[in-house]
């Protein structure tokens, strides 16, 4: 194939970082374009947030003193009404961000 002397040879090598970025965007198309932005930082600031209602807990403890305490369901976000969370049931602390940063 004849190459025009004036034609440039396309540089198809992209930086490893950009290649990784493309990989990530392919896996998570909903990922926002502001990675270091406020969402990520605010989740970082919220580390340690646990939704435990001491009022619910103490009232339920008083109500069912003699009965077996029902254990919290694995899905910890659904703590309402009859579900009695105990401090022992609180999820293990994760050192990194609480909510998935990949969630839209």
């Amino acid at each position: 194939m004849e190459v025009d002397s004036g034609a440039e040879i396309q540089d198809t090598v992209i930086s490893p970082e950009k290649a990784e970025e493309a990989k990530l965007k392919a896996r998570y198309p909903n990922l926002g374009n502001k990675p270091g932005g406020s969402d990520l930082l605010r989740k970082r600031l919220q580390k340690g947030q646990k939704y435990f209602d001491s009022g619910d807990y103490n009232m339920a403890k008083a109500k069912i003193k003699n009965k077996q305490l029902p254990t919290a369901a694995p899905e910890k976000t659904e703590i309402t009404g009859d579900h009695i969370p105990t401090p022992q049931d609180l999820p293990q602390r994760k050192p990194s961000l609480v909510a998935s940063k990949l969630a839209g």
């Binding site: 990784e20 970025e21 990530l24 896996r27 270091g36 406020s38």
Partner: protein, 438 residues
């Protein structure tokens, strides 16, 4: 990079196991004591024993001197916030008398601990027996002066000050000022200045909280006082910048005196750029002329007189640049590595993955990768340098990037202030390496 004939040959003297993951390591000013804090809120202090007569060619060992529970887990019911007992940082105070003092902090509360020795006990009291029972005063017919008798050494740790309720966000740094009277504590958005004697008040000296949290673009990641100038401190950010502040200029140091940032090539910017530029640690050199910053892939040395770029950049594990996607997915990209200087500021050290840690000689520009693990280090044997293979062909003894264990991170390391002794925390094991004297 040369991996042979490194100027220092390191031997492992011993290891210690913590129950929990070690979260901070710090030598005191003389290097006699080494403090470690862990995820369970415990502090373990090691003391350097004098050289043994049998083995004069080895430096003495570090043995457990004191262990105490510094912080307990707490729950802030008002904010539904769980407060971890994990010790984020320990900083020693300079020694002024026989007792040793250190500051230890978790996410919310800083405590001043006094560690003192008791090796004498008074015996021969008049009013009570040796076992403590009160004597019948009417039976006492003569008076005696109690005598101080030697006893087995007891090391006691007692909390002398508790500095609480000054941080809304999570404390990432504490730093003792060179005036030995004040210290600073930094959280994600604010920095406070304390007096060591006063617990019910602290001065806010930096506040970067925006009026509208939606506009939040960066957080404070680390802060340190200048080693000699008690009016100067620096703080680093999640955007890879460092601000130097002068407390003589204003009470609130929101406006920096110097702003350090390396210019970035806009065409190379990617989704990961800002995340990997986030500075996880900042340390002044002992001389006070330089400072060092650690970001995800490199360590940079800055001359305090030059704000527009670092004077030296060292690649810690550049091969990870082509793994950023998976490192983002498994959260490793957010790991906060620390860095440290040796006593003479001629070498720097920082950790990596697979229990590897890296040392860079600033003069010869040589670097070395070593491993802190029981399998690869036998006591008193020389450490073998490690190499990660980046190309297609993997040489014998090299480890490929894909075989690295990203759960084995070395985030915390410390260098003795005078000697070639280093402490490396690998998960819940502490390794102490020393130079062979010969």
């Amino acid at each position: 990079t040369h991996t042979h004939s490194h100027p220092h040959t390191h031997t492992l003297t011993h290891t210690r196991s913590h129950t929990d993951i070690i979260s901070t390591v710090e030598f005191n000013y003389s290097g006699e004591l080494l403090a470690t804090g862990d995820k369970g809120g415990r502090v373990v202090i090691f003391q350097h024993e004098q050289e043994s007569k049998n083995r004069p060619h080895l430096r003495g060992e570090y043995n457990v001197y004191s262990t105490f529970q510094s912080h307990e887990p707490e729950f802030d019911y008002l904010k539904s916030l769980e407060i971890e007992e994990k010790i984020n940082k320990i900083r020693w105070l300079p020694q002024q008398n026989a007792a040793h003092f250190l500051l230890s902090t978790n996410d919310k509360t800083i405590k001043l601990w006094k560690i003192s020795e008791r090796d004498k006990r008074a015996e021969g009291y008049n009013l009570k027996d040796e076992d403590g029972r009160l004597r019948d005063p009417f039976r006492i017919t003569s008076l005696r002066v109690p005598v101080l008798m030697p006893m087995d050494l007891m090391v006691e740790a007692s909390p002398r000050r508790i500095f609480a309720n000054a941080h809304t966000y999570h404390i990432n740094s504490i730093s003792v000022n060179s005036d030995h009277e004040t210290y600073l504590s930094a959280d994600d958005l604010r920095i406070n200045l304390w007096h060591l004697e006063i617990t019910d008040r602290s001065f806010n000296i930096v506040d970067i909280k925006p009026a509208n949290m939606e506009e939040l673009t960066e957080v404070i990641t680390a802060a340190e006082c200048h080693p000699h100038q008690c009016n100067v401190f620096v703080y680093s950010s999640s955007k890879g910048t460092i601000r130097l502040c002068d407390m003589r200029a204003a009470a609130l140091c929101d406006r920096h005196s110097k702003f350090f940032e390396e210019p970035e090539d806009p065409s190379s910017r990617s989704f990961f750029s800002e995340i990997i530029s986030s500075i996880s640690d900042v340390k002044f050199s002992h001389s006070g002329r330089y400072m060092m910053t650690r970001d995800y892939l490199s360590v940079k040395v800055w001359d305090l007189n030059m704000e527009n770029r670092p004077v030296e950049t060292y690649q810690v594990h550049e091969y990870l640049r082509s793994k950023l996607c998976s490192l983002y997915e498994n959260d490793c990209i957010f790991d906060k590595f620390e860095c440290c200087w040796n006593g003479g500021d001629s070498a720097i050290m920082t950790g990596s993955y697979n229990n590897f840690f890296r040392m860079f000689d600033r003069n010869t520009r040589r670097d070395i990768t070593l491993e802190a693990s029981r399998e690869s280090s036998k006591p008193r044997a020389t450490l073998k340098p490690r190499k990660v293979s980046t190309g297609g062909k993997r040489k014998k003894d090299e480890i490929s990037v894909d075989s690295l264990d990203f759960n084995k991170k070395i985030l915390h390391t410390a260098w003795h202030p005078k000697d070639n002794v280093i402490a490396v925390a690998a998960t819940n094991n502490l390794y102490i390496f020393q130079d062979k004297i010969n």
